[in-house]
Amino acid sequence: MFGGSVVKLVVVLSAMAGAARAEMTDNVIKIGVMNDQSGLYADLSGQGSVLAAKMAVADSGGKVDGTPVEVIFADHQNKADVGSNIARTWLDVDKVDVIVDVPTSSVALAVNEVVRSKNKVFLVSGAATSDLTGSKCSPNTIHWTYDNWSLANGTGKEVVKQGGDTWFFLTADYAFGHDLERNVSAVVKASGGKVLGAVRHPLNTGDFSSFLLQAQSSKAKIIGLANAGGDTINAIKAASEFGIIKGGQKLAGLLVFITDVHALGLPTAQGLQLTESFYWDRDDKTRAFSKRFADANKGREPSMVQAGVYSAVLHYLKAVKSLKNDADGKAVVAKMKEMPTDDPVFGKGTIRADGRKIHPMYLYEVKKPAESKKPWDYYKLVREIPAAEAFKPLNESECPLVKRT
């Protein structure tokens, strides 16, 4: 008798557990980290982002209500066609539920459309174009870590304030560079400055000396680098070699990651001002997170992109847990927007209707070699840009998801 009812109870309970699990598609929550695994953006995203996603999964217990969580990754080679093909295969065949990271704006914009059409979830950490929460915004996409508007608003505004009122741009010739140049130009003009010209260079350029000579002959006070990763490193290096700085012109690195500063070395990078949403040595929580990360990443500290992947995956799993369902991408994103975010990386934050994750941004200056006390001790804080001012105001948004009253 007694034994029989225990058996019944177990059967009923396991049936209930089964029913709860059945809500998760294919009995597994699959996270696909897509980024540059081998090229000029591999250090700022790459395997580090995969590691960050795995850390977030582990910190969420490895399972959501008994459903295991799996992380896979792929290399989009910074090509939009490769990226959208991977996205299609992932969503159609491999049953991936959420795609994260995706640096290189042109690829991110392509993946954005694929994910929207398949009603899954897209959490962007690596890409910068503000269009992801502007004209191309999607109910399936959240733009997590930073964007071009916030960079322009941080570094661009500060440089103009310090007297840099004439600009010449070196712009990476694709969606990201164009968007960044447009955003910074707007800030420069709004602050009373002037844009004297721009030169568009191909992505992944080895030698910048030609372009720098053109920038030099423009006589602009500021040479704005609207590029990223390896391109920024090469441009800064060539500028110091060709005496651009000694000639009185200043460089503004509009998107500089800590991995770039590391590759440049402090003697070359010192004095650069840059805007980031994350720095490993900001407070005790970021230090603790970064220590765990660096220990598993050959001693390399996380970039803001990698930290953003951690934060995004963590919040995604919370939303799926509370929804008990991962099938409907729009519903998951809606849930994510509804719940406040909280993690060791960005602290407390929110997600807006247009898909913009909101947190403070920080304007840093790269230390002089003498000021650096330990490995990766690279930044000093110039100013914190509060969350409310860090991103493009919602009432200026071109996003159709934003209801206007």
Binding site: L40, H201, P202, T205, G206, L213, Q214, I233, E241, G243
Partner: protein, 296 residues
């Protein structure tokens, strides 16, 4: 102010000079490729990876042995040359007599392995390598600021290129080399050790790549992708110059550097395509390349 197509003459002079600097790298690398192809009939796809290795050896020497740039300029090509001997003796040797495609596949595989090892250890953005003290600073030429180091790169590579050309085309050793590739059996009959000569030729070719790697280290920083970024362009240079033509690869290397430099002024968006456009045109008009001899 004099302008040409809206670009001030002074700016143009600067761009020409920069083109020559980049051309120096193309010339050094394509020279090594041309020698290896001309004498061994091997399309050495590992060339870019060995150029990267040259740069990394320089970085290792500085980091772990305290040996600076000048030491590296000698040691790194020797070390990579030795690696070349190993590659030739243990692997390439087995492929002679087969279709050149096999050599290409082997060296391509090697390139991927070497690049992968460096990527795994160092990541894609690489390590900084400082310009040597004696060559830091620069010269104001009036129309541009010429860093001393870049001037050194042009001068040094011109000397190396011309010396190599002289040895192969104008000395007895060079004539043995050329004869050995025409008819190895006959040359061997004269008492010359042809297999050893071929090994040393390969070693010399890849040592040139390593030399270019050391020269490039202070300019581009030492990174695993520096070779693969360059190698395709360098192959185009070799094809345009004429496969296996020594003088062709030198002249084409410098000339295409200049053409690329000018493209960066007039239509920067096309600067990474222009060399391939030229390659296509040259192949259509003169399929053996500008300096190549058509096969009889």
């Amino acid at each position: 102010m004099i302008t040409i197509f809206g670009v001030p003459l002074q700016a143009l002079m600067g761009q020409l000079l920069i083109g020559l600097i980049n051309g120096a790298f193309y010339a050094l690398l394509s020279l090594g490729l041309a020698i290896i192809f001309g004498l061994l009939n091997v399309i050495n796809f590992a060339h870019g990876a060995l150029y990267t290795t040259g740069a990394f050896v320089a970085w290792f020497l500085l980091q772990y042995a305290g040996i600076g740039y000048w030491g590296a300029l000698v040691i790194s090509p020797l070390a990579v040359g030795l690696l070349g001997v190993v590659i030739e003796r243990t692997m390439l040797k087995r492929l002679y007599g087969l279709d050149p495609l096999y050599g290409l596949l082997l060296t391509f595989g090697l390139a991927l392995i070497i690049q992968g090892l460096f990527l795994n250890r160092f990541g894609s953005s690489g390590e900084p390598y400082a310009i040597p003290e004696a060559l830091s600073g620069g010269l104001n030429l009036g129309f541009m600021f010429l860093p001393n180091y870049r001037a050194w790169v042009i001068g040094f590579s011109v000397v190396v290129c011309l010396a190599t050309w002289f040895v192969i085309e104008r000395t007895r050793l060079g004539s043995y080399l050329r004869a050995g590739t025409e008819n190895p059996v006959l040359v061997q009959a004269f008492g010359i050790n042809v297999p050893r000569m071929i090994t040393l030729t390969y070693a010399f070719g890849v040592a040139l790549a390593a030399l270019a790697g050391v020269l490039a280290a202070p300019i581009y920083r030492v990174n695993p992708l520096m070779g693969s970024d360059l190698i395709i362009v360098v192959f185009a240079v070799v094809v345009i110059g004429g496969m296996g033509s020594i003088i062709g690869s030198i002249v084409t290397g410098f000339a295409l550097g200049v053409v690329e430099g000018l493209t960066k002024v007039f239509y920067p968006e096309a600067s990474n395509v222009v060399i391939f456009v030229i390659m296509a045109i040259v192949l259509l008009v003169k399929s053996a390349g500008l300096f190549g001899r058509t096969a009889q």
